[in-house]
C-alpha cells in the first residue's frame, strides 16, 4: 500500500486517481473535525470538501516535510477558523448519530441529548479553543502535531489547550458529575 506522501507526490505529477485514494483514506477524519467544529452537517461537508480541493491546489508545491495528516489538518484549521469568523449565528443542522441497536430507545435518546450538550458546549467556545479541543480530544493529535496544524509553537498550543479546557469544563459540569 502506497504511503500518503507517495500518493501526494503522484498527485503533484497530475495523478487524479492518487488524489481519489487520498480522499478515501482521510475523508472520515476531515469530516469528523469539520463536524465537531461547526456542529452542522451541511457546513461540515462544504468545509471538508473545500479542504480536499485545497490539498489538490497545493499539490504542485507539496513537499513531504510533515505527515499528510498534519498537512490536511493545517488546511482544515485555516478553513474552519475563517469560516467561523465570517459566519452569522444560524440554526445548525446536526445529524442523528448512528443508531446503536444494542441501546433501548430511551438510551438512544439519552445519548443524543448528551451529544447535543457536548456539541452545544463546543459551539459556545471561541473558534481557536474549539479547534484545539477537537484536534486533541477527537483526533488525538499530540502537542507537536497540533502546533504544526495551527501554525503556533508547541508551548503556545499547550497554553491554548489549557485555556480551552478551562472554558469548556463549566459547560460540561453536569456530565462530569454523571
Amino acid at each position: 500500500m502506497r504511503s500518503d506522501e507517495d500518493l501526494m507526490l503522484a498527485v503533484r505529477d497530475g495523478d487524479l486517481d492518487a488524489f481519489g485514494q487520498i480522499v478515501l483514506r482521510h475523508q472520515a477524519e476531515a469530516w469528523r473535525v469539520a463536524y465537531r467544529f461547526t456542529g452542522d452537517a451541511a457546513e461540515a461537508e462544504d468545509l471538508a470538501q473545500e479542504a480536499f480541493l485545497k490539498v489538490l491546489d497545493a499539490a504542485a508545491r507539496y513537499e513531504p516535510t510533515a505527515t499528510f495528516r498534519t498537512f490536511l489538518f493545517r488546511i482544515l484549521n485555516r478553513l474552519c477558523i475563517d469560516h467561523a469568523r465570517k459566519k452569522r449565528p444560524t440554526v445548525t443542522d446536526s445529524l442523528p448519530l448512528s443508531i446503536d441497536n444494542a441501546l433501548s430507545p430511551s438510551q438512544q435518546a439519552a445519548e443524543a441529548e448528551r451529544d447535543a450538550l457536548i456539541q452545544g458546549a463546543l459551539n459556545a467556545l471561541a473558534p481557536d479553543y474549539r479547534m484545539v479541543l477537537v484536534l486533541r480530544y477527537i483526533e488525538g493529535l499530540s502537542a507537536t502535531e497540533m502546533a504544526d496544524a495551527m501554525g503556533r509553537s508547541t508551548k503556545a498550543v499547550e497554553r491554548l489547550l489549557a485555556r480551552a479546557k478551562t472554558a469548556l469544563e463549566p459547560r460540561l459540569k453536569g456530565l462530569f458529575e454523571s
Binding site: L16, F19, G20, V23, L24, Q27, A28, W31, R32, Y35, R36, A41, E45, A48, Q49, F52, L53, L56, D57, S94, L95, P96, L97, S98, E111, D115, I118, L133, R136, Y137, I138, G140, L141, S142, A143, E145, K165, L168, E169, L172, L175, F176
Partner: protein, 165 residues
C-alpha cells in the same frame, strides 16, 4: 483490549502520546467500557467526557462529490477542450449532416475563390514576347525606372525559358 492494558496507558492517551493504532484501539474500548472512561475522567475530566463521543457517519457519496469537483477544477485549469469523437457520439444525425454541409460549402467556396483569382488569359504569353504589365496586370509598376526593384521584378517576370516559365 483488556481494561488492565487500557488503564495502564490512559495517562499517555490523555496527553496524546500513544501511536495512532493504539489510540484507535483504546478509543474503541472506551466507547464500550464505562469503568475505563471513569478512570480516564479522573486523569482528565474533559478527556473522560469526550472519550466516547460519536460523530455521525460521513454523508454517503462524499468522496464522489469531491472527485467531481476536483475533475472540474483540473479541467478549468487546463482550459477548454473539445473532443471531436465525443461530440460525434453525443449529437444527432441532422447535426452530422449540417456539419458535413458546412464543410462541403466551405471547401467549394474556397475552390471558387481560387479559380476566380486565376489569370484571365488562361495562357502564358509566348516565349520572348511576354508583356508582364498586361499579362499579370502589373500596371502599377509601369512607371518603374530601370534599375529599381520594381523594374528588376518586371524584367524577371518578363524573362522566360524554354519551358515557358
Amino acid at each position: 483490549m483488556h481494561c488492565k492494558d487500557v488503564q495502564g496507558q490512559l495517562k499517555a492517551f490523555a496527553s496524546s502520546q500513544v501511536r495512532v493504532d493504539t489510540r484507535q484501539r483504546i478509543q474503541a474500548h472506551l466507547t464500550e467500557c464505562a469503568a475505563c472512561r471513569t478512570a480516564l475522567g479522573r486523569i482528565d475530566p474533559v478527556a473522560g467526557v469526550l472519550a466516547d463521543v460519536q460523530t455521525p457517519p460521513i454523508p454517503p457519496g462524499f468522496a464522489a462529490r469531491v472527485m467531481t469537483a476536483a475533475r472540474r477544477r483540473r479541467q478549468a485549469e487546463s482550459g477548454p477542450t473539445w473532443d471531436l469523437l465525443r461530440w460525434w457520439q453525443l449529437t444527432s444525425a441532422p447535426m452530422h449532416l449540417a456539419a458535413a454541409a458546412v464543410l462541403v460549402i466551405g471547401l467549394a467556396a474556397g475552390w471558387m475563390m481560387g479559380w476566380s483569382a486565376a489569370p484571365s488569359t488562361g495562357q502564358m504569353a509566348p516565349a520572348g514576347q511576354s508583356d508582364p504589365l498586361s499579362t499579370y496586370q502589373l500596371d502599377v509598376l509601369s512607371e518603374a525606372p530601370n534599375g529599381s526593384l520594381a523594374g528588376s521584378y518586371l524584367t524577371l517576370v518578363a524573362t522566360t525559358n524554354e519551358g515557358g516559365y
